[in-house]
């Protein structure tokens, strides 16, 4: 049985997003979560499973990219650490970029960003 007939991990990740599912990988040997998607378990090799991400996370690092209004104005950029462990680059939506704080609990959503489906995050509960 060959996996080669199936789509590769990045394509599968994107196909999951198109179905409205935020999936990450898991190393069955260690139980460790893996993102971004890989063809082999990072650092050790071996196959990876797909699991649904909890969608919970915490802002790990944050910046505001300053832009002139005619360029679209200031926009936030951050790293979110998923509850499962991996970090991802993303944007917190629904909160002004200056108000995004490190340590803020956030929850994932799937939306189109700059023409492609992506995982963004919203402040959880009261947020900031």
């Amino acid at each position: 049985m060959s996996e080669a007939g199936e789509a590769g991990p990045e394509a599968r990740w994107r196909a999951h997003l198109a179905e409205g599912r935020f999936m990450i990988q898991r190393d069955p040997a260690t139980g460790e979560a893996v993102f971004p998607p890989r063809a082999v378990a990072p650092g050790t090799g071996g196959a990876l499973d797909w699991v649904e991400a909890s969608g919970r996370g915490e802002v790990h690092a944050a910046t505001v990219m300053r832009r002139r209004p005619e360029q679209g104005g200031d926009v936030g950029l951050c790293l979110v650490e998923l509850a499962e462990g991996p970090k991802m680059m993303t944007r917190v939506v629904g909160t002004p970029p200056e108000a995004v704080r490190i340590g803020m609990p956030v929850r994932a959503k799937i939306e189109e960003v700059e023409g492609e489906l992506a995982v963004t995050f919203e402040a959880e509960g009261d947020g900031a």
Binding site: P36, V64, C78, K87, M89
Partner: protein
Amino acid sequence: MSLKGKAAVVGVGEWGCGEAPGWSPLEILAKSAEAALDDAGLTLADVDGLFTASSYHFMPSSSVAEHLGIHPRYSDGSNIGGSSFVAHVVNAAMALEAGLCDVALICYGSNQRTAGGRLVSMSEAQPFERPFRPRHPIAAYALAASRHMHEYGTTKEQLAEVAVAARGWANLNPAAFARGPLSVEDVTGARPICDPLGKLDCCLVTDGGAAVVMTRADRAKDLAKTPAYLLGGGIELSHRSIAQMEDLTVSGAKASGERAYAMAGMGPKDMDVLALYDAFTINTILFLEDLGFCPKGEGGRFVEGGRIAPGGELAVNTNGGGLSCVHPGMYGLYLVVEAVRQLRGERGEGQVAGAETALVHGNGGTLSSQVTVVLGAEGTL
């Protein structure tokens, strides 16, 4: 087998630093190479090993060899970002020691400033970052700085101290591009680019080329200038995207530094002068910590009060660094050039008296690759 003491830098050169309007990257590189070979008392005809990296050329070794009119029997065009050239020093020592070449030329050129002020880059967008349009490289360093501030209470004023110290050294270097008074308030009050980093937390955008010539140690003694011997070298690659950096406050410099110190049989206390890749103010703080000059998290407090400025207790980036001297897209080779000049005692007003050892630390990508080299004068062998 260790590479310690097996090879030396015998020639250094720069050309077109600041602005070189109307000159292409290859032309700037060629003039720099000629300057370095002149410095060594060698010519292009002697070069049989070529080491280069580029944002402009898909096959940089081939493009450079053709332009210089040489047929190298060994080449290394690997690109790990701005640290590439520091890695080339290690790789050149290895190739020299193995007899794969006898005269190694490491070279770089860029017209980043006059060709439009933007870094020309073949770099592909990272697939899991792409929709968020990160303004790299600064956005990545801003994220790292935000985390350092969060974990250790590092302040914008402390970041600014790094830029002020670099300017202090630049003011002692007539060749530096940015000179003149600079205060902490000037830096913290500058236009914000990616919080917490403002315009003056960022390196310059200049033109310029640099080149370094290396030979085996036995030959080095017979050439024109005092050799600077390679005492230790270490490399660490950790990630490509900043999101995949294991700990945003600990760079690969910790591992690369330990390897370089181990080879040299030395430690931070033995270093007389430091050349750290300061693309952004946070870099210097991270590298001072990771290379063992202060505990993790103390870098901000360490640089306060002019400790790394002229007259301070630790001489760091004595040419003015990427922040105030020169930064033509990739800065790594200038670190080596400055360290060698210090070891030769050629640095005029910026000379660190009696400098016998120099720590060179190159950074590439978004804190992605780290390369540490220890150079020493003859007495350190």
